[in-house]
Amino acid sequence: MRPAGVPIGRALDVPAEIAYDDLREVVAAIDRVHGDGNLPRIPVRLVEGFPELGRFRFDPTTGEPISIVIRADQRFRRLTLLHEVGHYIDWYVLGGRTTFGSAFHPMMEVWLARVVSSRSYRQLDALAKRGKGVVSGARIAILSERERTAVRNALLPDECWARSYAQYVALRSAASHLAGSLTVLRTPNEGRVYYPLQWEDEDFRPIAMAIDELFDELGWRTW
């Protein structure tokens, strides 16, 4: 399989400065995996001093995407850019600029079904519902309301889409710089509650295949 359509690199306005070298590597990784349906250009900027890892800004009245902002002072800039590009695609293409398509579009049903039945999602869902997590195989930790808020946020369809899109590009591009970030997020620590925000390889395989089919249907990949 190879990417088809217009390279998404044309849509992502990433400055040519040296500070953006890592983000340009990410754009190149996306271009190796899929094209797009001629998305409009969106500025991508590094900014310090905000609490989220990244932001996808959009105008809910006109539907126009405004910007993708990546928190500069963090270790997950590459994965964050993929995550925010996932939101951009979800809003602009899958949702037609009125919704996030991950929650509504019939084309997303297979992907959504596979996410919901994945081990990662079931574990997060159990954390949110029961409010307690297993630590080191035996001890039970009661989650604070703060932790449960975080887990509930991770169960939103658009957040599931953004995380799975990021992992999909990391997998299909075989970019080692992306694999490193995934490893950090997927490593349980002795004595701590594990949040499976990203999927183990085997757990992710059916989800990746659903995204393959989706992108084939969109004409973003071809033989």
Binding site: P60, T99, A103, P106, A141, R146, N153, P157, R192
Partner: protein, 81 residues
Amino acid sequence: MVSRDEREVMIQELLDRTTLPREYVEEVVAISLGESEGDVVPTRPLSPEEWRRIGRGITAEEALERMRQRAKESEQIAREG
């Protein structure tokens, strides 16, 4: 608005309890304090109903059930129609 020290205590508590990296924890704390609504940021504040309308506010599982229900209804309309 919490002080820097109070925020650091909250962050440290989550770092000690979970596998989440610090950057993720800082985002979680900001959300729980009402300082952030997450990484999807509209240019004007949205009401809870508006958030739901664009697809946020229900879980992926609930979205799947709704999608299947709508597909069934569409099939039924097509059969009757």
